[in-house]
């Protein structure tokens, strides 16, 4: 159907791109992760597994990784709790205002991530909007200091930032449910609540899985929110990677952690794809 030349022209550039900017860097990282740094701050090209054993054995890496996963899990949970009802309302009850409300959910995505993170800083800080308000109405006497520079601040910010990412696939899944299935359910005597649990929720599972994966994976690798709002107790694994590649100058260790995360993320994506397939019926 298409000429050989045409096929070459359209396939070669993306192949080169993927090789040059994705595969080659990954391969480089892969090599680095088996090397080490000498006390003289020189990278030694001797192959060993020490970085990986450190990743599992050293408390700082293990705990930070676990904390990152715990933060990501909470972000996932909260964005589902916010995103699902929002998507459900929009898809089933918004009527004529559907498009407008949809745009309102999307608009925050146009605002720079950094701006949104900073906004939370001004809200949560000890002289911030929230603390001032709480003291003004005499609910608290002193500024609450757990609001900023804590895992709480990181979870809050990431939930704010990633809820639209959970909302979108759930909304798409809900929009794809044929409305006559909802009618059929009512027709057969199911109340709106029964219809939700027995028809709508099961049929929106692929969207929920996709949305949950987005929130978890994106949060897990985040480094700006913990950097700006996390404080020492809110450090996440990406912050460690950043410092290992920077001030700490331990590229091999940084590469090992990055590849470890890559393995986690890829297996999650694989799992979520399996789940989505299992729950899709169209």
């Amino acid at each position: 159907m298409f000429s050989r030349a045409y096929k070459t022209v359209v396939t070669v550039p993306p192949l080169l791109w993927v090789t040059g900017f994705l595969l080659a860097p990954y391969l480089l990282m892969f090599c680095y992760s088996f090397w080490s740094v000498s006390p003289q701050q020189v990278i030694v090209h001797s192959w060993n597994l020490e970085n990986y054993t450190d990743l599992l054995r050293k408390a700082v890496y293990r705990q930070t990784l676990l904390r990152s996963m715990w933060i990501a899990a909470r972000v996932m949970l909260f964005s589902l709790l916010l995103g699902y009802p929002l998507a459900y309302f929009l898809s089933f009850y918004a009527g004529k205002r559907k498009d407008l409300l949809y745009q309102l959910v999307i608009i925050p995505l146009w605002v720079s991530y950094l701006v949104r993170a900073y906004a939370w800083k001004t809200i949560l800080g000890s002289d911030g909007v929230l603390n001032t308000l709480l003291q003004y109405v005499h609910l608290t006497k002193h500024p609450l200091d757990f609001l900023l520079y804590s895992p709480f601040a990181v979870v809050l910010t990431l939930t704010h930032i990633y809820t639209p990412f959970t909302f979108l696939p759930i909304y798409a899944a809900l929009e794809h449910i044929p409305r006559n299935l909802v009618e059929a359910s009512h027709d057969l005597g199911a109340t709106p609540a029964q219809t939700f649990w027995k028809v709508i929720l099961p049929l929106s599972i692929p969207g929920v899985v996709a949305g949950a994966t987005f929130a978890f994976v994106l949060s897990l690798g985040d480094f700006l929110a913990p950097l700006l709002l996390g404080g020492p107790s809110g450090i996440m694994i990406s912050n460690i990677v950043v410092s290992l590649f920077g001030a700490a100058y331990n590229w091999p260790m940084g590469a090992a952690i990055s590849l470890g995360m890559l393995v986690i993320v890829v297996s999650l994506l694989f799992l979520s794809e399996r789940l989505e397939k299992k729950w899709s019926f169209s």
Binding site: N180, L181, L188, G189, T191, K198, L203, F281
Partner: protein
């Protein structure tokens, strides 16, 4: 002598159903979408155990009427009564009415068996009863072998049966069917028409069947309610609606017909060059003459005592329909008549036609509606 003139059939009077108690009363139901009237002042009674077909072209409002009965739409005005109970104030899940949807609307995530058991499960019936009734319903529609299959794995005809079982298993008082056969191919469709009809006889539940196919309506129904632009044109048995169409629209919609526009002058009907005695008040009239009542001169006559009307013409077109043929004949004065004859290739170019005056049925002009 039998008068050729039959009084226009009143919309609801029906000897067959008058004796049976009314199951559902539709009273003056109207529906407008925005400023667009879809149903106007529809009143209809559905009897216990009756097979009623709502027949109409697309856009006639037949599906809207069905959706109002099911509860998916609310009427702009009018009432629905099921016995002493006002139905239109109830949500669909409280009505003892079930629907077979046009595209079946089977739940894709549930097996055939789970689909059929859905209504009983949400009604929280005991598990043993559910299992028993589901098995019975699947057996009735011959789908037992597919109990564990997902809907996507079975054919359209089979999905159709499952949808039927899923509705009937709840023992509704009224079953609504929204063009359920329209997605099936012609053969399967004819087969399902027969099956559906005998199933209805067997379960004794009143069926309200929506279709745009007049043949299907004729084959299956006890009564046909013909909708046109949101208003009922005629409600009658298939025989009555065919033999005594109330309006020109009905006569044309159901089967083929010749519409003869003419005038009555002093007890004589005049239509182009045709005349026959008709004891009617003077004024413009419209007659419907079925093609099978027009015959080639010399063919054996159906009625012998009546005035026979004769006209000469030239054959325009001959369409073979198997057992019969439809022949279009150009007569004098621009009049074109269609006649149905037994299949016979020996038709001359120039023919003489005749019909009994009694077979020309007076019909009302259908009013313009938009």
């Amino acid at each position: 002598m039998a008068s050729p003139i039959t009084p226009v059939t009143p919309l609801t009077a029906n000897p067959q159903t008058a004796a049976k108690p009314a199951l559902l009363n539709i009273r003056n139901v109207a529906k407008t979408f925005g400023r667009n009237p879809v149903l106007r002042n529809v009143s209809l009674e559905i009897a216990e155990g009756e097979f009623l077909t709502i027949l109409g072209e697309s856009g006639s409002g037949k599906t809207t009427l069905l959706r109002i009965i099911a509860g998916f739409e609310t009427a702009s005005s009018g009432e629905l009564w099921m016995g002493p109970e006002r139905l239109d104030h109830q949500p669909p899940y409280r009505r003892r009415v079930n629907t077979v949807f046009q595209n079946y609307a089977l739940f894709p995530h549930l097996t055939v068996e789970q689909n059929v058991g859905y209504g009983l499960r949400v009604a929280k019936r005991p598990a043993a009863e559910i299992a028993h009734r589901v098995a019975e319903a699947l057996d009735k529609v011959k789908m037992t072998a597919y109990a564990k299959s997902k809907p996507s794995k079975i054919s359209g005809g089979q999905q159709q049966r499952v949808a039927l079982a899923r509705a009937l298993v709840n023992r509704p008082r009224l079953l609504l069917l929204d063009e359920p056969l329209s997605a099936l191919d012609a053969n399967l469709r004819r087969q399902m028409q027969v099956e559906l009809k005998s199933l209805q006889r067997e379960v004794g539940i009143a069926f309200v069947f929506v279709t745009h196919d007049q043949e299907e309506a004729m084959v299956m129904s006890d009564r046909i309610a013909l909708l046109r632009s949101g208003e009922l044109e005629q409600v009658a048995t298939p025989r009555e609606i065919y033999n005594r169409p109330a309006t020109a629209y009905v006569a044309q919609f159901i089967g083929h017909t010749n519409l003869l526009k003419g005038e009555i002058q002093k007890g004589v009907a005049r239509c182009a060059s045709l005349t026959w005695p008709a004891p009617l008040p003077d004024g413009p009239v419209l007659f419907s003459l079925r093609p099978e009542h027009v015959r080639l001169a010399g063919a054996p006559a159906g009625r012998t005592n009546d005035t026979t009307v004769r006209i000469r013409g030239r054959v325009l077109h001959q369409a073979f329909h198997g057992a019969t043929e439809l022949i279009r004949v150009q007569c004098a004065d621009g009049l074109v008549l269609i006649l149905r004859t037994a299949s016979d290739p020996e038709v001359h170019n120039e023919v003489e036609l005749e019909f009994s005056a009694a077979d020309a049925m007076l019909v009302r002009e259908s009013p313009e509606r938009t």
